[in-house]
């Protein structure tokens, strides 16, 4: 009937592709796939490799792992010195534990502040939600570095916060906040709060109000209804938000290096120093590998939830 001959013609570009055993569809997967393999996955293998090398005064500053021994035998020289170093020098253990502690506490603080905010936004009149949400995202579009820097001026000994509190008469002597754990908590909560609020908002907004009404109708008081209905149903948001804060916070570098002091060692800054100041690439690599090992479980958890959420959205 009206099937034109043209639709039976194969275009020349398609024929060209299929000569290489590729469809256009295959190309759509292949290009980003190859990119990520090359620039995301293989680099980890190289980090692993170099963590087993020995520091050397050379360019690049490490020894080769593979060697062609005499007689053409390929020998592998694995050097565990960097990892042994991590175990023996307590600085690293302290830094790892401190990073985990700081990331954990910051995540909890983010959740405590972010949950009521996300809840408030989700329950606001519909016309308010957009602007309120925009105001959460807005700071994110301005420089992260500068926003962290702003806190130096506020938290300093002779800074704005202390001046304000002394003026109010709350305190007599200035508080020592900057360069302590507290200033790092403030910095992390401040920078990562949007990452907590957005997934929380996404789940809370979808929540059916009639569920709470049903709970109230069945005799649950507001607090009880919240604990029995809202909280469990917003669990996916809580998990996603917490992981989005916790994982990057463990390896955070900028915040501890601007707001932290000598007693607030975090592993991101340690890695940075090993690399840039000590130029010890094998130890820096070993630090990175060890950090990855700490984060593998949370990262996989994050992926699992991400995948599940996409599946749920499909339904």
């Amino acid at each position: 009937m009206s099937q034109p001959a043209s639709s039976l013609k194969t275009s020349s570009s398609r024929r060209l592709l299929s000569r290489f055993g590729l469809s256009g569809r295959g190309l759509v997967v292949l290009v980003p796939y190859v990119w990520l393999l090359l620039f995301f996955l293989i680099p980890f293998a190289i980090v692993l490799k170099i963590s087993f090398a020995e520091a050397d005064i050379a360019i690049p500053p490490y020894t080769a792992l593979l060697d062609w021994a005499e007689g053409g035998m390929l020998t592998v020289k694995l050097n565990f010195a960097s990892f042994m170093f991590l175990l023996t020098d307590s600085l690293y253990a302290v830094a790892y534990l401190n990073s985990l502690k700081i990331a954990f506490v910051s995540t909890v603080l983010c959740l405590l502040l972010g949950y009521p905010m996300a809840y408030g936004i989700a329950k606001a009149p519909a016309s308010w939600r957009g602007p309120l949400l925009m105001l959460i995202i807005l700071p994110f579009w301005t420089s992260f570095l500068i926003r962290v820097y702003a806190w130096i001026g506020i938290l300093k000994q002779e800074g704005l916060l202390n001046n304000f509190l002394i003026w109010l008469g709350v305190i007599d002597t200035p508080l020592n906040i900057l360069y302590t754990d507290v200033s790092i908590y403030i910095g992390i909560v401040y920078s990562y709060l949007p990452f907590m609020i957005l997934p929380l908002y996404a789940t809370l907004e979808k929540l059916d109000d009639t569920l709470l009404e049903a709970a109230a109708d069945l005799g649950a008081r507001p607090v009880k209804a919240f604990l029995a209905v809202t909280l469990p149903l917003s669990m996916p948001g809580i998990v996603a938000g917490s992981l989005l804060v916790f994982i990057p916070a463990v390896g955070e570098f900028v915040i501890p290096s601007l707001l932290g002091g000598p007693n607030t060692l975090m592993i991101g800054a340690v890695l940075w120093n090993e690399f840039f100041s000590n130029r010890d690439w094998p130890v820096a690599s070993a630090v990175a590998i060890a950090l990855l090992l700490f984060l593998v479980v949370p990262i996989m958890l994050f992926q699992y939830f991400q995948e599940k959420q996409q599946e749920a959205a499909k339904q």
Binding site: M1, S2, Q3, P4, S7, L8
Partner: protein, 385 residues
Amino acid sequence: MAQTTTQSGRKIKLEPWQDPKEQPYLRIEKVTKKFGDFTAVDDVSLSIYRGEFFSLLGGSGSGKTTLLRMLAGFETPTSGKIFIDGVDMSNIPPYERPVNMMFQSYALFPHMTVEQNIAFGLKQDRVPRDQIRVRVAEVLDLVQLGRFAKRRPHQLSGGQRQRVALARSLVKRPKLLLLDEPLGALDRRLREQTQFELVNIQEQVGITFVIVTHDQEEAMTMSSRIAVMNSGWIAQVGTPAQIYEYPATKFVAEFIGSVNMFAGRILEDEPDHVLIQSEEAGCDLYINHGVPVPLGTPVSVAVRPEKMSISREPPPVDSGRNVTRGTVREIAYLGNLSNYLIELDSGKMVRITQPNFNRLTEMPITWEDRVHVSWQPFAGVVLTQ
């Protein structure tokens, strides 16, 4: 259309599926579709003829939509073949099939006007611009949407969107139009009105329609034939009347309309009648046609509620067959009809529908009345599976 002469010398029109000389337009041959371990469509064979309005009727998960999607080319059969107008569709992608589909969600392109939506398919075929204009105008006329040509889908009501979707799938004049629950998203009144419109449009354009629906009334109203599907199988194919009056299985009998089912055993089997003993019914069941099963076989007899009648007095001719007694348990007055729920003396509940001939009779049958339930020899259908 072919004609044939009956023994009595009267000429009757022969429907295409009754005519051995007619070639099927769409032939589905032993098609199976598996998704992993799940078999969605199980060894289905069907022949559909030119100009038919054919319905695939079934509940959710019956495989009707999967079968339709295989016709469109969105799913590939795990085994089996599909022929349209004699051409094997196995290696033909959806965009080259002489088939168009109207989607349940309508799937209108939100960023295009009504006109652009309808012209889309013609543009893919590189139809000259002036011809596109003429054909779009024609089909817009057909669905009476001429004045909405410049609107976007979100500026239309549900019923209008439905008609745009129909126009878009008709404009290419496909050999086969597939409709996936075309009326599913409309409200009841609009749906009834649109059923007739759809049949009218089909008659005007003469395109073969294959429609998927879960609504038996819709299928009965519109179709030339219906295939009832159940868990991937075709339970029965036939005209609406055949399927209602002569269901082939218990599933079909219960799926289409309501039915009273009596379990029993064959006592007598003659060419012109069978006699069935049924404890559930509380009487012997006499049916005026034979069945090809041996004596003693357990069978079910299906009797439609409107084919049974109730009375306080025993029926004039009481042969002890097709007459039983029970107590009225529930009455639902629907105006034109009343539905009665009767508990037979065997404990079996049966449903009976009676037209309300008289206005409020003096002594209407009421709750807890003892009544006789009776039906004619032609009313029952013997089912073996």
